[in-house]
Symmetry: C2
Subunit: 416 residues, 2 copies
């Protein structure tokens, strides 16, 4: 496809890029911005990669099934080879080759630690967005995500909160980090912990630990058959976690608090959607340097490369007609990736606060209980909207352009 | 594992062996016989290969989903690369290396044509057994297979019949073979045919075609926009299909009638369980020559190699105890491959007619309607049991040996 014949070698040690986060959090925007870079190729959501990751997890999660597999020689290592080979083929072959290959399937980030193990030189970008904006977008654009009731803001906000906390599982890192590097994760692993039995896995409630540290640290150390040492107690109290715009008086956040953060800032970069669209140049410079990719202005003007040769491939809908038979018109929205009609536009902040005033008053009132993850991610649940920051010159320019050529852009969206 | 360091290269063009058929039809017996051969390694059922094949089929079967995948660049070809890579890693790595690698997962044969496409030099062995014996074995050994009600012989016989006909789908080959090589398959593809619409896919009922060939052939040829030609009519009538022990007066079997047979006898060899255990030497010579593997006496004495180094690996159950905690006793049967305790014995015919006298009289009476596939596969539904043939000298010897050392073998089975 590049005209000349280039040989692209691909293997599991190449520096792959994974973009993830909740759907409707800007994952498509970021992937098209990176797709605009000559060295990077992401392409559309593969859909099959998160599914295979899910199948693997279900096989290994059930103690019985994983025992049967290992009896048959299908150890975790053998399964890793097969899963790694499958994922690499899909990433390498579902689009044009490029020096830096990238994958964007929102929910892959739930397996970030595992993907890092399969692809030891990969890097991850975790897109984070105000949950109220995410839920408003899901409901207003009728995006079907299993478990989300599109008629109920409160229910969707709770589901968003649960999904984010699964990606941001509270890791009881402080003890394990100090003593063993053993991670006691209290999210999905709770089921596994039960299966292993109290002799092997000790559930520890975060709130108890931070409210009664001495009592629980003594229980934990004896469970680990490790002699008591004051250092563990001092370490919890001395560290203060600062979350911008939100003062966590009564809770002490333990240091590491996400699959993304388990990997560390050298491997996984959290990016807030609001910052990306307000200050694209600042954040794209951060992102490209994090990915060790040279700066290129094209990332600021992706709209000029959409659906162009060697440009950005967006899932598009062509109504195919057989010679004499009109194929039943298929529900168009479901065929496209849902952000296609938005990302054809230059970077803009149209969607930033669309959610304000769209939610029932009782939901707005109870926001901090319904979605505690908002505060944890730095969004004030009681500000409608919070102050996301100021747009840079480029974005202000784009907004004027979009206002001026509103009809043209509307026609272009329809055409997609 | 072989002590010295050998380099084994594996790729999708190696002559892989696939053993398949209904569970309880002798697939495990055949794989341990072949495992006894120094050049061949099958190993236990992988469980994950048929699952991945099922996932792929479900992705591509739904027109909507396959359209979304191809929009994302995940064409059938890209998916083939990924599925092929996954399967190859599992087969190559879940056991010791060997010049001829083999896979035994009963239901893979439902995708034989696809597997042949992925592995162009592979060969297939389709194990066939009297459905009454299969069902009796499933019920008496409480083998859980989805959809089989272990309290109901009639229901299980119908399920067996449906499963076998899925593997042996009636292929309207006669027209397509003569004209286009186009296969009109009336089994699972019926759903796909409906989706494509009558302009593209014409359902043809076998019974109508053989009862009213001229009427239907005219309809079919005009649907294919092919001018009428008497040759199609002559060809149907002139060929006679002979099925041993069963006289098909009113039906004319079309020539090709199975996934296995679509591949042709050079690629897929049907083997009847009863013949394999009655005449093992005759049939193992046929099988090894079909696989182009040199003859080796070890295949006739597999019992001497079970669980030995470089011998035959059987899924076994070791009760693991943690230091002070007895892990809840797990349901042992479910952990082993269900034929393990049978295949440790030398080749024998103990299980051949165990089913006789075990089924309700009404089921025995209605057998030919409940399970028409019995006749199609050469088993007389009204003979209880049919004459399966005579045992060769080796098997007669083995039966005497098993009778003489009954207690020892019983103890060995218990030990497994």
């Amino acid at each position: 496809q590049t005209g000349e014949t280039h040989k692209f070698v691909y293997n599991r040690y190449m520096p792959l890029i994974f973009i993830g986060g909740m759907p409707r959090s800007g994952t498509t925007l970021l992937r098209v911005l990176l797709d605009a870079h000559p060295d990077i190729r992401c392409g559309e959501e593969t859909r099959v990669i998160p599914r295979l990751l899910g199948f693997r997890q279900s096989w290994l999660k059930a103690p019985f099934e994983s025992r049967r597999l290992s009896e048959a020689g299908i150890t975790a290592e053998v399964l890793d080879q097969a899963v790694g080979a499958f994922i690499l083929e899909i990433i390498a072959k579902h689009g044009t080759p490029a020096p830096r290959l990238c994958n964007k399937d929102p929910f892959t980030l739930r397996s970030a630690v595992y993907l890092r193990y399969l692809f030891p030189n990969s890097k991850f970008i975790f897109m984070i967005r105000d949950g109220r904006a995410v839920v408003h977008s899901i409901i207003s654009r009728k995006v079907t995500i299993s478990g989300f009731d599109l008629k109920d803001f409160r229910q969707c906000l709770k589901k968003w909160n649960a999904a984010m906390s699964a990606m941001v599982c509270i890791v009881m890192y402080v003890i394990s980090y100090l003593i063993h590097g053993l991670t006691l994760c209290m999210c999905e692993q709770h089921y596994q912990c039960q299966q292993l039995g109290t002799g092997v896995c000790l559930p520890v409630h975060y709130e108890q630990l931070v409210l009664q540290p001495k009592v629980w640290l003594e229980k934990i150390l004896s469970f680990l058959s490790v002699p008591w040492n004051e250092s563990v107690l001092n370490s919890i109290i001395s560290r203060k976690i600062i979350i911008p715009e939100y003062d966590l008086k009564d809770f002490r956040m333990c240091e590491q608090h996400s699959q993304c953060q388990q990997l560390g800032t050298g491997v996984c970069l959290p990016v807030h959607y609001e910052q990306l669209v307000l200050q694209p140049k600042v954040w794209l410079e951060k992102i490209l340097s994090f990915l060790s990719v040279p700066w290129n202005e094209s990332v600021l003007h992706h709209e000029e490369l959409v659906n162009k040769k060697n440009g950005i491939s967006l899932s598009k809908y062509l109504l195919e007609r057989s010679t004499d038979q009109v194929i039943k018109p298929i529900n168009i929205e479901a065929l496209l990736e849902r952000s296609t009609d938005q990302v054809i536009k230059p970077i803009n902040i149209e969607a930033l606060s669309k959610w304000v005033g769209q939610m029932p008053d009782d939901v707005v009132k109870d926001m901090s209980e319904i979605a505690p993850m908002l505060a944890m991610l730095g969004y004030d649940p009681n500000a409608n909207p919070p102050n996301y920051g100021t747009a840079d010159a480029l974005v202000q320019e784009n907004m004027k352009h979009l206002e001026k050529y509103k009809e043209d852009w509307y026609a272009k969206q329809k055409e997609m």
